[in-house]
């Protein structure tokens, strides 16, 4: 195989036509000579005509060959398989796995460092004629993160392990799609991963049977040579009661999952750390849980982490948390709450999460049948409307709501509606799926742009609506009475947490703000946010209402002008702690028609030899010049052979 550094110069080979033309012209531009002894000449010509023609042909061939060789030498012939730098313009898609598992140490270096180092070898030999795109295996949905040689190098150099699971199939599909758009170049996909088994699946359940995916695309995979360890981790923390009540002590459930053959017999120590202080310590067995007790906290955001002794991967030995501790809510009931609601309120009061008081002193009114609704809203109270159990009372209810200028009304479907269930998933454990019998239908009667449906039934009808008045006072409209006849909710274990959230959260602040994320997440900042403090302590200015991409595990704080506006924690999904390696065939199944090549070695030269398979060959003009010179000697000899020295007659 031969290529050219300057293919355009190869067109000079057209000059090979010159000797041919000259040859033809010269045959026509001969002079005429009168010569009597032409018969001897004819005999000589006949005798050696073949040799003459052969010499002419050889001369012509030699001259044509000389011009062709000169043109080839000038065009920069590329022979054989060149070095990695000597490749044709290539579209290179790099998929890099920076999932949490790549924080494992191999000697004194992280796997991610090895992956990046190997990927940078490819970047080093990329040329300005290449196109490079980097795809994150952890966030494949983001598409190409860098689309230039320089940009790719900078991105890779700054890459850190992310709190997420790699989705290699999705990432290589993204890369393959990008390569498919690069039709004017050679294509190559390079994948750098620790080949963790959990990274080999996608969200759709398995490899597709679609034909032609990645057909002919060379895929170079580099996997560091390491042994996956058994690994213990800290699972998602779960306070006994959430949201936390300020001033109340609570237990925190700390799962201790184990990924490996047999968990160690000795328990591990679990520490709850807030700031720099260890606030709770407990012991737990891997495969089970620990239950440290969190001391009473002041109201506000509580951030810290749970930590175990080192086991396997260090990154998952620590799990960050952010909880909101709120003071007990003062609530008043207007009308008869009924047995179950009454019990729930009493339980919450006993638990210190609620203070039952008279209506004038309360923050939240629980208005049975909308009693006192108009008054409550007009005085700035948050009002929870619990409908009556009988539909006969609906006209009075709707009348009160109309007077309070709430753009909703309750309607009864009669006996025909039947029962429904609360739609899954629900923000309160155990609430989703509970049956609601003959629910009322909440129908909007006017514009309610700020009203939101917090819960729906499985038939799509609203079950819990939160709205605000023009003055900004909140109201909650419940879709059915809290009686055992109206639904399973009052008799379920979810009743108390539901009422707790209803009174303590939704009636006051609208919704439980998500504060603990698993995997990289885009977080929308509060309107008054000005700055965000990242896990490494660095600060970055943000605009209120903008989206912030969080990728690093740790605690984040969003600051406003003079207070903390929001806080959240980011951890990798617990599945990421399973370090078991997958197999080559599992991954190849996702691009079955690609040309896969696997490498586990540490030799950089071996890697350079593998990558950029569309090589152009080594620049080799010298042999052509040598051959040219040799042929020029042959040509001179052939030409001289036809010019013999004259001999004297006789």
């Amino acid at each position: 195989m031969i290529g050219f550094l300057y293919p355009a110069l190869a067109l000079a080979a057209i000059a090979a036509a010159i000797p041919i033309i000259l040859h033809l012209i010269r045959r026509r531009e001969v002079h005429r000579v009168v010569f009597p002894a032409i018969r001897y000449l004819r005999r000589a010509e006949q005798r050696h005509a073949r040799r003459l023609r052969l010499r002419h042909l050889l001369l012509l061939a030699a001259r044509v060959l000389m011009i062709v060789l000169a043109a080839i030498a000038a065009a920069g012939p590329l022979v054989g398989r060149g070095d990695a730098e000597d490749h044709r313009p290539t579209a290179l898609a790099i998929v890099i796995d920076a999932s949490q598992s790549t924080a494992q140490l191999q000697g004194d270096r992280r796997l991610l460092d090895l992956l990046v180092e190997r990927a940078l070898l490819s970047i080093d030999v990329a040329t300005s004629r290449d196109r490079v795109a980097v795809f994150s295996a952890v966030q494949p949905g983001d598409g190409a993160l860098a689309t230039s040689v320089v940009g790719a190098g900078e991105y890779l150099a700054g890459l850190q392990p992310e709190a997420g699971i790699a989705r290699l199939p999705i990432a290589i599909r993204q890369a393959e799609a990008w390569l498919g758009s690069q039709e004017d170049r050679a294509r190559e996909l390079q994948l750098f991963t620790d080949l963790q088994r959990v990274s080999l699946g996608d969200d759709d359940g398995g490899p597709t049977t679609e034909r032609g995916l990645g057909q002919g695309v060379p895929v170079q995979v580099w996997v560091p040579d390491y042994d996956a360890e058994a690994n213990g981790a800290v699972g998602a923390l779960q306070p006994e009661v959430e949201p936390l009540s300020a001033g109340q002590q609570t237990s925190v459930l700390v799962p201790l999952p184990w990924f490996g053959p047999e968990p160690p017999n000795a328990p591990t120590v679990v520490r709850l750390v807030k700031g720099e202080d260890v606030v709770a310590v407990a012991e737990g067995q891997f495969g089970e849980s620990a239950l440290p007790r969190l001391p009473p906290q002041d109201s506000g955001w509580v951030q810290g982490y749970a930590e175990i002794e080192h086991s396997g991967l260090a990154a998952d030995d620590r799990r960050f948390f952010t909880w909101l501790a709120r003071p007990a809510v003062s609530a008043a009931t207007l009308g008869d709450p009924g047995t179950f609601l009454g019990f729930a309120l009493e339980a919450l009061e006993r638990g210190g999460r609620l203070i039952r008081t008279e209506p004038p002193d309360a923050e939240v009114w629980i208005a049975i049948g909308a009693e006192g609704l108009e008054e409550g809203l007009s005085t700035g109270m948050s009002v929870i409307v619990v409908p009556p159990s009988s539909r006969l009372d609906l006209p009075l209810l709707n009348s009160r709501m109309e007077r309070a200028r709430i753009p909703w009304r309750y309607e009864s479907a009669g006996e025909n509606r039947g029962s429904s269930r609360i739609a899954q998933p629900a923000p309160i454990d155990g609430l989703g799926g509970l049956e609601v019998r003959d629910p009322f239908t909440l129908t909007a009667t006017g514009l309610a742009p700020n009203d939101t449906v917090l819960f729906r039934l499985d038939d799509g009808e609203p079950w819990l609506v939160r709205g605000t008045t023009i003055e900004g006072t909140a109201y909650l409209l419940l879709g059915s009475a809290l009686t055992a006849e109206a639904s399973e909710v009052p008799t379920s274990a979810a009743m108390v947490p539901f009422v707790d959230a209803l009174v303590g959260v939704w009636a006051r602040i609208g919704a439980i703000a998500a504060a603990n994320f698993e995997g990289p997440a885009a977080i929308r900042t509060p309107q008054r946010a000005r700055e965000i403090v990242k896990p490494d302590g660095s600060r970055a200015a943000v605009e209120g209402g903008s989206w912030v991409q969080a990728t690093q595990a740790g605690n984040y704080t969003v600051l406003g002008d003079d207070r903390v506006e929001a806080a959240f924690s980011l951890n990798a999904p617990i599945d990421e702690a399973d370090l078991e390696q997958g197999s080559e065939t599992e991954l190849e199944a996702w691009l079955p028609e690609a040309d896969w090549s696997w490498s586990y070695g540490t030799d950089p030269d071996d890697w350079r030899e593998r990558i950029f398979s569309a090589r152009r060959g080594r620049l080799a003009w010298r042999p052509f010049v040598v051959i040219l010179l040799l042929i020029s000697f042959v040509e001179a000899s052939l030409a001289a052979a036809g010019r013999r020295k004259p001999a004297l007659p006789g």
């Binding site: 001969v30 010569f35 009597p36 001897y40 010509e45 003459l52 010019r643 013999r644 007659p649």
Partner: protein, 304 residues
């Protein structure tokens, strides 16, 4: 020019010799110079009046062997007699187009001019020796024919004919030779002066016919130096002046093969003539005329 050359015009370069004057003067000077160079008379042959014996040499006519001497000495001797009879010689001169050519303008005669000088000199020498000389001009046919006579006036007429005769077109030597053979019953000498660019087979057959009729034949093959060695170096189209045939060739590349072809042709003529006991002499036009006279004399002596 050294003294010997100065006194021997027959040894001069033919082109230089031409400066002496017309054809007649040149021929006379050549013959005079040639004769003066001979040490003894050439007119010793086979005659009625016995002169001496000499040893037999292969090729000698057995009729003249002295058998009595053989009986006495057991050796062959031939009896030699004083010259007695005149020999009729016919010079057949090729005047075809190919003869009117020379390879360079200066320092060379055309083959025809050279041949004319040879013919004039030979006929003068013949007549001076008491022989008869006739002349036949031929090209594609016999163009002119003059019977053989032995007077100086006749020779002067021959010279005038030679001077006046221009070149013809094609060569057909066989016609001239056949005509001589048919018209001369008495054995004589036929001298063919030609570049032999003729129908070779037919010409050889005619020469053979002459020999069968008892004529002695002497062939002067006139060659220009440029025919012995191919001139020029580049591509050229060579044109035959007689037939206008053309041949494109590169001289430099064909020179060796051409030289071999010429050598083969000369060798073939020599072989064919030798087979018929014909004296064959290739002569280059840059060679002195004395060579031709010498060859003739050798033949004449053999004839006796």
């Amino acid at each position: 020019m050294n003294t010997r050359i100065r006194s021997r015009p027959d040894l001069l370069d033919p082109a230089e010799l031409d400066a002496l004057g017309g054809l007649e003067l040149v021929a006379r000077a050549v013959v005079k110079g040639f004769i003066s160079g001979l040490h003894s008379s050439p007119s010793r042959g086979f005659s009625v009046e016995f002169a001496e014996h000499r040893a037999y040499r292969p090729g000698d006519d057995l009729r003249y062997v002295d058998w009595k001497m053989y009986g006495r000495s057991d050796r062959y001797y031939l009896k030699q007699y004083e010259e007695e009879t005149n020999l009729a010689a016919h010079v057949c001169l090729d005047i075809s187009g190919s003869m009117d050519w020379r390879s360079r303008e200066s320092g060379l005669l055309t083959k025809l001019d050279y041949a004319k000088r040879v013919a004039a000199s030979l006929t003068l020498l013949l007549i001076r020796q008491g022989d008869l000389a006739g002349l036949v001009f031929f090209a594609e046919k016999v163009m002119r024919r003059t019977p053989a006579r032995g007077t100086e006036e006749h020779w002067a007429e021959l010279v005038r004919q030679l001077a006046a005769q221009g070149p013809g077109q094609l060569s057909a030597a066989e016609g001239a030779l056949d005509e001589v053979a048919a018209s001369k019953r008495k054995k004589g000498l036929v001298i063919l002066i030609s570049d032999l660019l003729v129908d070779e087979a037919a010409t050889r057959r005619s020469l053979e016919k002459l020999r069968h009729r008892g004529h002695e034949v002497l062939v002067f093959h006139i060659l220009d130096p440029g025919e012995l060695e191919l001139p020029g170096a580049g591509d050229a189209v060579f044109v035959d002046p007689e037939t206008s045939d053309e041949l494109a060739a590169r001289s430099a590349e064909l020179r060796g093969e051409y030289r071999e072809a010429v050598a083969a042709a000369l060798d073939e003529w020599k072989r064919a003539c030798g087979a018929q006991r014909i004296d064959y002499h290739p002569i280059s036009t840059d060679q002195p005329l004395a060579l031709c006279l010498g060859e003739y004399l050798h033949t004449r002596m053999r004839l006796g």
